[in-house]
Structures are given as structure tokens and as C-alpha cells.
């Protein structure tokens, strides 16, 4: 009798052991407060909600994701501390944020061999050296800017273009590639102006006007861009405006109002107001997890979801291959990834030589307070030629 109860107890314990899901930690370190937190806040919420969705739906059988979004206040020292903590804990993948933080951590990421997925699309993140473990979710800033230059060359051949960039590595990232691409496209980059957030851009805009600039291409964040396009409207300038992923989006429309009309924006994400599966998914998750409208409408919310989605998908692949969930198995899975995700305009594909997830982009135009796609998803024809020489 005693043996029978012991046997039942053993079975119960083993059963519980098998039934308990394996906890897998995924940490994100980014700016929930401080500079760029206008983007970071929603990016973090996207990560949290995608993880919750994966847990609620049992997306990876036998795995419970514990996703932590840490506020590093845009401070690289805090990012480093968070990354070290994640590495010490044995996290299989790390979600990063800023350009500075990613560029600074690259040698350490290479040393510890933990896959790193940043919110910064700086091409330097995945260029040698120390580039084996960094994976961009979507096409780089360089590719985004070249894509918009290709569009400009099509609609306004021989156009004169000025670039207005953030005074940081983030802003300067695409400049050299853009200059080379412009030469190939027969358009002229007449000036590259670094612009921090200011109250008045009259001087810069009048100078651009005097040089005959027809388009300003922004590699910046929405705040300064909004001020500049409002000033351009006030001054009655006929200059058109275009920008890369972080320059545009609903934030720009909210800040610039009517002045944003006609703004050309390049991104790889679907917009929540579109009538497609991506928008439906984003809205469903936002509603399910109680996010306010401004979060759901922000492009940074699905951006965070995609980053978390890539990490979770890689873990799912590793698990399906019967491997132990670890940085090594997650890395191997990432290199084989071909994920037809719901959030971006193309699949997330990686290989040993390609660390860009979504290669396709769309150009959208602000029309009556909404960004409307004016192109089908496409890949830049020139990026590889000007950046890699092939």
C-alpha cells in the first residue's frame, strides 16, 4: 500500500514537472524615459504585448516567455548593465534599442555570442567588424534613404536634394551611401545639414531655397522634422519633404498638422489604419492588452512587436529542431529564418551573409492626415551596389 502511494506521488511530481513550461527570459533595454522615449515607450509596449500574446496563445509549446522591458534612459552605461545581466542569466537573445548603445556593445556581443536585435537600423550595426550576432529587423537607414531617393529620381528626375540629419551617428548613418546613390540616380545632394531640435529653422530653409533645393530628405526624429516642415509652410516654400522610418509616422502628423501634407515617408511596417491582417492584428493586441489609441496608432508599437516576434520565432525554430533553448541554438535558428510575419511588408529572412530581416520597403505619402502607400513593397535597386560594391 505504502509503495502504491509513493508511486502515485512520484508520477504526480513528474507530471507536474513535465506540465510546467520552461521559462525563457527575453530582455529589452531602451528609452522608456529620456531622449527618444516618445518612440521607446511604444516600442516597449509592443514587445510586452507580443510576448503576452505568445504566452496566452501557447505560441511556443512548453515555453513561457518572461519579457522584461528595462528603461535605460538612452544611456549606454545602463544598456551595458542590462545586457550583462541578461548574458549572466543565460538569456537566448537580447533586444536592444539605440544606435549608440548597439555600436558600443558590438564587440561585447561578438565576444559573448548572444543574438542582438536593436531598434536602430544603422548599417554599421551589421557591418564588420564584430557583426556576427547583430540582426536588423528591417532594412537599414541607408537603404531607406536610398529607396526614397530612388522614388524622388523617378518623380522628379535631376532633382536638387538637401539632407537634414540628426547630429549623431544615427543621423549621419546614411549620408555617404546617399551621396553615392544620388550620383548614380542623377540627382544632386546640394547640402547635408545637421539639425538638432530647435525653435526656428528659417535660416536653414531660406538657404536651401536659395540653392534651389526641391526636396529635403530627413534622417531624424519626428520632433525637429515637424518644426522644420511647419516653418517651410509658414515661409511659403515650395520644397517637398521626405524622410526615413523615424522621421515620419503618426507622430509627425500629430505634431505638424497640415504642414505634413505631401510628406514622403519610407518604412517597412504596415500602418494600423490600413485594411489588412497586420492592422487587424495590431489593433486586436492593443485592445486586448488595454493600450490607448496613441500607442496602437504609433508605428513604434508594431516595430516593438516585430522585434519580439523575431526573437520568439527563432526560439520556436530552435525548440522545433529539438535543441535546448540557448544563445547558440537561437543564433542558428536566426540564420535560417524565413518568417512570413504579419507586421511588415515583407518576410523576415536572415542568412550568414544577410542580417537584414525585412528587405522590402514602401513609400507612403501624407494625404489628408494619413499616410497612404504610393508604392508597392520594393527593395532598393542601388543599396547593395553603393554600400557593398556589388
Amino acid at each position: 500500500m505504502k509503495n502504491k502511494w509513493t508511486l502515485w506521488a512520484l508520477v504526480a511530481v513528474l507530471g507536474l514537472g513535465f506540465a510546467t513550461a520552461e521559462k525563457v527570459h527575453i530582455m529589452w533595454s531602451g528609452a522608456i524615459t529620456g531622449p527618444t522615449s516618445d518612440a521607446g515607450k511604444y516600442y516597449a509596449q509592443g514587445i510586452e504585448d507580443y510576448c503576452s500574446w505568445a504566452n496566452d496563445t501557447g505560441y511556443v509549446a512548453g515555453v513561457e516567455f518572461v519579457c522584461e522591458t528595462r528603461d535605460d534612459q538612452y544611456n549606454n552605461a545602463n544598456t551595458l548593465r542590462n545586457f550583462e545581466e541578461a548574458v549572466d542569466r543565460g538569456d537566448p537573445v537580447f533586444l536592444g534599442y539605440s544606435t549608440g548603445g548597439t555600436l558600443q556593445l558590438k564587440p561585447l556581443v561578438q565576444e559573448v555570442g548572444v543574438p542582438f536585435i536593436p531598434a536602430s537600423y544603422h548599417i554599421g550595426n551589421i557591418d564588420p567588424p564584430d557583426n556576427d550576432y547583430v540582426f536588423l529587423p528591417i532594412a537599414s537607414y541607408s537603404e531607406q534613404v536610398i529607396a526614397v531617393l530612388e522614388y524622388i529620381a523617378k518623380v522628379a528626375p535631376g532633382a536638387k536634394v538637401a539632407m537634414a540629419i540628426h547630429p549623431s551617428p544615427f543621423g549621419r548613418a546614411p549620408v555617404e551611401d546617399a551621396k553615392k546613390a544620388a550620383a548614380e540616380l542623377g540627382i544632386q545632394i546640394v547640402e547635408v545639414q545637421e539639425m538638432a531640435k530647435g525653435l526656428d529653422y528659417t535660416a536653414t530653409l531660406k538657404r536651401f531655397e536659395n540653392k534651389g533645393v526641391q526636396y529635403i530628405v530627413y534622417q531624424n526624429v519626428a520632433g525637429p522634422v515637424a518644426n522644420m516642415i511647419k516653418d517651410a509652410k509658414r515661409l511659403g516654400l515650395k520644397i517637398k519633404h521626405a524622410g526615413a522610418h523615424y522621421a515620419g509616422g503618426p507622430d509627425l502628423l500629430r505634431l505638424a498638422g497640415d504642414a505634413a501634407e505631401g510628406f514622403l515617408w519610407v518604412t517597412a511596417y504596415y500602418m494600423p489604419h490600413e485594411d489588412n491582417a497586420a492592422a487587424k492584428f495590431v489593433k486586436e493586441l492593443g485592445a486586448k492588452y488595454g493600450r490607448p489609441a496613441d500607442a496602437i496608432e504609433s508605428v513604434h508599437y508594431p516595430s516593438g512587436m516585430l522585434a519580439a516576434g523575431i526573437a520568439i520565432e527563432a526560439i520556436k525554430m530552435a525548440k522545433a529542431a529539438g535543441q535546448k533553448i540557448s544563445p547558440e541554438s537561437t543564433y542558428e535558428a536566426l540564420l535560417k529564418m524565413n518568417w512570413a510575419n504579419k507586421l511588415a511588408v515583407g518576410p523576415v529572412t536572415y542568412s550568414k551573409d544577410d542580417h537584414v530581416g525585412v528587405d522590402q520597403l514602401r513609400v507612403l505619402e501624407a494625404q489628408k492626415g494619413t499616410f497612404v502607400p504610393v508604392t508597392e513593397p520594393f527593395s532598393s535597386a542601388l543599396f547593395r551596389k553603393v554600400h557593398y560594391g556589388k
Partner: protein
């Protein structure tokens, strides 16, 4: 010529905003010799209060602005009562450290509200567009900035020259001990200076919000812009804050307009005013209108 005039006018407008932001800083220094490192956060509190009142209660921005001015003045008053009053007579470095701490506390408190992260826009309360004359264009929010600066300058001019409290504040700034012996309540003067500083900071926050939207980092950043302004104009001079603000604004614009084209990447507008500031301080160490203090040893 119209290019130069446009740059000049834009510089004066931007300088007026700097001057408005700097007024509160000068008021506190003038009354109590305290350098307030939390001034940018007062600007943010004023701006976000107006935004919160206008959007959540559905009141007009003008009413919300009045409430924000009053609220920020009260915050300034109680800040002095609670945090600064116990430090009267303590070393100035202690007081400065407290204002740095206050900046962190206010920043943290704002982050507890929905306004800590993100970009916000005040509801439209001014007509679209602006005024154009002789090829020069100025938007309505920019005109409002100039008007606010003029009104506050006139009001404080009258206040310090004509009102009993204003004269008491000047007396306290001149000699605290002598003022106390004549029956002036130094504590009251200090608290009123902080309240007035809160008022002007809120006004600056509203203008910045109307021009460039509301973002905590941006608003606090305007608070930092006042340092070159008040050092150039003189830490204890209200006309100095206005003149300093306008000089910095004009130099920024002229440098951006004429020098950026020759410097790769540009950005001279952010740097050039500091070169001029250094030159001025070489000859006038107390700023253009600051009180020269001579210590005999």
C-alpha cells in the same frame, strides 16, 4: 537684404522666447542669489498643465493657459516654502544641489503622468499661418512670444520700480540684513520670487508648446538655453535677460544663415553664440547688464 532681415526678425522672435524663459531664472537669482537648475522643469510643468487642462477638461487653451500660469506659480511658491526656506543662510552650493535634486524629482513626477514620454500638440488656439511683410514671415505663435515677452517685461518693470513688494524684492537682493532690519519679510520675498518665476516659466512653456509641440526633453532643453542668455545679459538683470535672449537668438540665426554653408554638417548656430559670449565676458565678466560686485579684502 530680405534674407538678412528675415534672419534678423526670426532671431528676435526666437530670442524673445529665450528671454521669456530666462526671466524667471533672473527673478529668482535677483531676489535670492539662487541659481535654479530646475527651471526647465517649471517650463515643462506649465506647458503640460495647460495641455492637460485643455485636452482633459475640454477648456479653451486660453483658459487652460491662465490656469497653468496660476498652477505653476503655486508650484513655485510651495517649492520655495518646502525645499528652499530651510536652506536660508546655508552655503550656496547646498542650495544649488537642492535645485539639481528638484530637477530630478520634478522630472520623475512628470514621468508618473502620461506626459513624461511622447510628443503632444496643444489644440489649435491661434489662426493658421502668420504675418508677412516685405518678404518677411512671422507665425502667430511667434508673434505671441514677442507679445508675451513685452508684456512680462513691462509688468516686471512696473513691479520692481513702483510696487511695494517689488521694491522690497530689490532691497532684499541688495542687502538681506539691511532689508530685514527695515521690516521687510525676506522669506515672503523669496517665495514671491519663486512664484513669479513659475508664472513666467509657464508662459515660456506655452509658447514653446505652441511653436514646436510638447515634449519633456525639448521643454527642459529650453530651460538649459537660458544659461548663456542670463550670463550674457547679467544674472541679476531683467532687461539683461531680454537683451541677452535676443542677442543669442539673432546670433544663432545669422550664424546658421551665413556660416553653415561653409562648415560641413553646419550646426554653427548652436556654437557661434558661445564664441560671442566668451568674448563679451572677457570684457564684461558680469554680463552686459549684471551688477558688478567688488569685494575688498
Amino acid at each position: 537684404m530680405s534674407y538678412f532681415l528675415q534672419l534678423l526678425v526670426s532671431g528676435i522672435v526666437v530670442g524673445s522666447i529665450y528671454a521669456l524663459a530666462a526671466l524667471g531664472f533672473v527673478l529668482i537669482y535677483k531676489a535670492s542669489r539662487v541659481i535654479n537648475f530646475a527651471h526647465g522643469h517649471f517650463i515643462a510643468i506649465g506647458a503640460f498643465t495647460a495641455y492637460a487642462v485643455a485636452t482633459s477638461l475640454g477648456l479653451s487653451v486660453w483658459v487652460a493657459a491662465l490656469l497653468a500660469l496660476g498652477f505653476t506659480a503655486i508650484v513655485g511658491y510651495f517649492t520655495e516654502r518646502v525645499f528652499l526656506k530651510p536652506l536660508v543662510g546655508q552655503p550656496i552650493i547646498s542650495v544649488i544641489m537642492v535645485t539639481i535634486g528638484l530637477a530630478s524629482v520634478f522630472g520623475g513626477l512628470i514621468h508618473l503622468t502620461p506626459y513624461g514620454s511622447g510628443n503632444f500638440s496643444l489644440p489649435h488656439f491661434l489662426p493658421e499661418g502668420g504675418v508677412s511683410f516685405a518678404g518677411i514671415s512671422v507665425s502667430y505663435p511667434q508673434l505671441l512670444a514677442v507679445a508675451f515677452t513685452g508684456v512680462f517685461l513691462a509688468a516686471f518693470g512696473w513691479f520692481f520700480q513702483r510696487s511695494t513688494i517689488g521694491i522690497a524684492m530689490r532691497a532684499v537682493a541688495d542687502d538681506q540684513m539691511a532689508s530685514m532690519s527695515l521690516g521687510v519679510s525676506v522669506e515672503k520675498v523669496f517665495a514671491l520670487a519663486w512664484a513669479a518665476a513659475g508664472l513666467t516659466a509657464a508662459a515660456a512653456g506655452l509658447i514653446v508648446g505652441a511653436i514646436s509641440g510638447l515634449n519633456l526633453e525639448g521643454l527642459v532643453g529650453i530651460g538649459l538655453k537660458v544659461f548663456p542668455v542670463v550670463i550674457l545679459g547679467g544674472l541679476d538683470s531683467i532687461p539683461g535677460a531680454v537683451v541677452g535672449g535676443i542677442i543669442i537668438g539673432v546670433l544663432e540665426n545669422l550664424a546658421s544663415g551665413y556660416l553653415d554653408a561653409y562648415i560641413p554638417g553646419g550646426g554653427t548656430g548652436d556654437v557661434f553664440p558661445f564664441f560671442v559670449l566668451l568674448l563679451v565676458l572677457w570684457f564684461k565678466p558680469h554680463g552686459l547688464f549684471g551688477t558688478e560686485e567688488i569685494e575688498r579684502v
